[in-house]
Symmetry: D2
Subunit: 337 residues, 4 copies
Amino acid sequence: MIVVMASGASKQEINHVIDRLEGLGFRIHLSEGVEKTIIGAIGDKTRLNEIALEAMPGVEKVVPILQPYKLVSREFKTHDSVVKVGDLEFGGSQIHVMAGPCAVESREQVLETAEEVSRAGATILRGGAFKPRTSPYAFQGLEEDGLKILAEARERTGLKIVTEVVDPRTVELVARYADILQIGARNMQNFFLLKEVATADKPVVLKRGPSATIEEWLMAAEYLMSGGNYNVILCERGIRTFESYLRNTLDLSAVPVAKHLSHLPVIVDPSHATGKWKFIRPMAMAAIAAGADGLLIEVHPNPAQALCDGPQSLTPENFSALMNDIKKVADVMGRFI
Amino acid sequence: MIVVMASGASKQEINHVIDRLEGLGFRIHLSEGVEKTIIGAIGDKTRLNEIALEAMPGVEKVVPILQPYKLVSREFKTHDSVVKVGDLEFGGSQIHVMAGPCAVESREQVLETAEEVSRAGATILRGGAFKPRTSPYAFQGLEEDGLKILAEARERTGLKIVTEVVDPRTVELVARYADILQIGARNMQNFFLLKEVATADKPVVLKRGPSATIEEWLMAAEYLMSGGNYNVILCERGIRTFESYLRNTLDLSAVPVAKHLSHLPVIVDPSHATGKWKFIRPMAMAAIAAGADGLLIEVHPNPAQALCDGPQSLTPENFSALMNDIKKVADVMGRFI
Amino acid sequence: MIVVMASGASKQEINHVIDRLEGLGFRIHLSEGVEKTIIGAIGDKTRLNEIALEAMPGVEKVVPILQPYKLVSREFKTHDSVVKVGDLEFGGSQIHVMAGPCAVESREQVLETAEEVSRAGATILRGGAFKPRTSPYAFQGLEEDGLKILAEARERTGLKIVTEVVDPRTVELVARYADILQIGARNMQNFFLLKEVATADKPVVLKRGPSATIEEWLMAAEYLMSGGNYNVILCERGIRTFESYLRNTLDLSAVPVAKHLSHLPVIVDPSHATGKWKFIRPMAMAAIAAGADGLLIEVHPNPAQALCDGPQSLTPENFSALMNDIKKVADVMGRFI
Amino acid sequence: MIVVMASGASKQEINHVIDRLEGLGFRIHLSEGVEKTIIGAIGDKTRLNEIALEAMPGVEKVVPILQPYKLVSREFKTHDSVVKVGDLEFGGSQIHVMAGPCAVESREQVLETAEEVSRAGATILRGGAFKPRTSPYAFQGLEEDGLKILAEARERTGLKIVTEVVDPRTVELVARYADILQIGARNMQNFFLLKEVATADKPVVLKRGPSATIEEWLMAAEYLMSGGNYNVILCERGIRTFESYLRNTLDLSAVPVAKHLSHLPVIVDPSHATGKWKFIRPMAMAAIAAGADGLLIEVHPNPAQALCDGPQSLTPENFSALMNDIKKVADVMGRFI
């Protein structure tokens, strides 16, 4: 960490900062410039949270040098993590596609979709039983009945199940049915939910918050790992910008950046990012070409009747065509689907 | 609601949309332009969530005309709401200042701060007992012990207590001690927490999420009101932008806009928005001049020793000077503190 | 266009708006709802700029239905435009790569780079002779001497030349040497430069401004087309967001969106977007997979000595390896490089 | 400047960086940590532009410690600059209000507005003769005829004139008529225009670009000052964010921040920021309370007939009422209007 003292900071103020840092076990390097004095501090980065250096008199700014996360970093683990979901491996040479409806609406809808996406090559079925909705007047999900429908679809098709957890009180319930727990974008910094999921014995898909930096996303993953759950799959799903034609701006550079800073697998959700089904195909192709380890795609047998996010759902036919296209890109990347 | 059909939409596609809307009880106005056909639909806006119009063939876009919220809107209630906290009134001619430390750290710290801010004219004491922190390695709060300290400070000073709720499982516990429940910025769309707080018999300070639109903020308030809790105080605390000198960009125009669209009182938190105590004074002055009904300000007896957010905390002396300044602005606004 | 009247707008106010619109030749559809009255207006969209409807009493908001651009739109021309640069075609099945240094620094640097990128398969040489720099103390370019060096490189390699125009006073000078004029991101809304370039007899690469919406980008293209220059190539180069690890956030969804709304070819500049050479390869691959018609890539024989943007420049070796990789993606897309 | 070397950087790479910096005259401080080596470099910051340190092998990132600007900084000049416009002083205890129409439309319109705003207490008349417009089909200004009208209004009222320069070719023409040259938000980084204006013998209002950081804004001011024009008045006019209810988000914290980092006066334009006249009053009040040295406000005798930006224009009556209100806030600030 570098502490930049204000021009005009007194000798006493500088010494005060040094004493503070040394008291916490940091080793100090002092650089006295013409205009400013700079204090370099080397030591245990997790102790930085204990001090409010910027509040000390004479301090202009504090520049962190090391990332605030540890377990998720490439420094902690240099080679790529492979997250196992039963016999499936995320982060290896196989690219996995998670597909299914936004919300579990009925047994027929889910079973039909499961059959279709399985036939097209998806390995995981997605579907929400608890729906966090912007409007209190919108459909809120079938809850445990929805989870049972997903479990039945797994029985029939062999697909694994990924579904969202939204409330610390129901994590255990959801974990009884799901193969992968999903933490939604708006819950990325719901730290009490993260702590609960950290104790569950299930892999987790952690969506990036729509206005989270990559560093904050990795810090949320650190919550899961420091709580004991090392099976974290990161998911980019679009960020909020001033551009408004699509729902969000898919930040595909987050894929190579997250894989550069961290050892965790990264998947992409082009459905929520674009919000319009016509743009899912090019963004799914691009995601694979950018190095994504998987995709999360909304498929609905009848998008115009969907209770949630119909405009961004593919029909089974469109999904099947998409799978053919992305297989070719995976091949160029030396991977397979 | 206006449905804009794509150029080239067929007669059949247009009729399909009309049938769908009429089936849901909407009244239809059809405008056939040279380039595009436009369908106006008038009816119960809360039913719009049931339909995925943009997924229907031939539909280019859907333009909502009415706001998606109802109970928080000026249409629902034309005059300003006054939220009562015991004998205090938010939204009337008195401007209330909530002050205190970011986190409850010790009995001494809280009692000392409470005395000081009370003497300077604050009417409410703030302090966090449960702390949602970006880093799992940072101080997480004193929990119920912290709540007890706040209650003792209330006994001694007569100040009301505002403190954050972070987990649906502890809302009831917090409500036992607090006068006002605070929903933090990152929990603004934690809908399961909102639903729980909606059933609590306490006023709520609802912070705007750092990347929430004003409309989404009002929708979160709608969750509280539609769940039965009408005592909602909105709080602007800065939004995330590309500008990085300060922690966030305080959006003071949100004050008159939220008061234009809604009848709820609006307060401002310049401490979190700026993240640097030097900028709190001008932004607090500006907030009152923009029409805010109150302020939320961090005060700590020794900012450089604070376990949380020291750099943005005022000393009791600075806070006292600030109170003198904002009283003059309040006077210009025809209000008092 | 839809005019939404405020709840409580008087009959007289509504009639006033209708009179105004009818006076300008618009055809009117009136929808009187329970809460609000809506006026639909159909007519010549270019006349909308003449009226300040939102300033009229009783008007709540105005919702445009048609895009504000005409010549760049898919409605104006349904099939893809192919922009010719000598014998090269942009927007056809060949994908073109423009490569070269950020700035022309010396004859040797440019000639060496030109040979290398030509050998690797680039068809166009890029290089700035006039450099718009954030700092007045930074290298500002070789000006006409730089243009002469670029022309010599063209002689030797057969590469076409793309270079930036920055000032209406030097457009003619630059056009004497260049095959393609580039309008930089920060000049996207320099309307007096656009008007001058519109009269030049050269194709134009129009970069999207770092905080421009796609609609504003297309409006800038409309300036060029309405001024007589139909040979416009759009270039996405990253937008400014709160995410700060990379220089900008490359908005690859802008590629399919711009091609959906417009008939113009779209290329991508991953060098400026990422600002770090390590991330250029995945983003270039992704750009082709998203449907881009070309790439603009910085190559420098010795990035660490570059006077401008060294950190984002590829060495000739890395560029050559990249070309091999993107050829495979182009092949999957049914295109070639 | 701090150079952070990647973990695993070789001794040779570290020495290479040190040699490079010492060769440019920098003094070096080396800190070898367990995980990373950090190189501190002290020297002439304007030489940093000559080196592409981040492109050197083994370098992870470069952290600037000093601001990139010099002449605009508080280090260069510790006390507030006062910019003189004839007998008026910007940055002293008087707050100046610049008022008038967005565009000069006719002699009658300008003369009437000038009389009205002068009577209400404005000291400067604004009005655009050259209009940079997003749409090529919109009204583009009366050009020199407009300037003549403004000059006539000055004759009659004694108001000073501020008007926008948009093209380096017409700076001299505009400077012949205007008292203050305005650089519009979209031209903030039109460096060739800045260089031309730097040589004009007139004070300049420099608007912040809608997506410019405060640092970039100050760098644009540095262009003017390093080119010889020290009479720069900064103007905050709203930034682009995801919030879309108002045209832009007025960043009032930019006022104290710019005044903290720089010695230049800062004014605020609430008209462009909000885009809706109803919100101008609270934001103008807040701007004064935040410490602004002046305001720029659109006034039009008949907003609904304005050729440009009618919805954000005040009527003369509303403007007059506003002046009364802000005088009271100025008084609280120990200033006058």
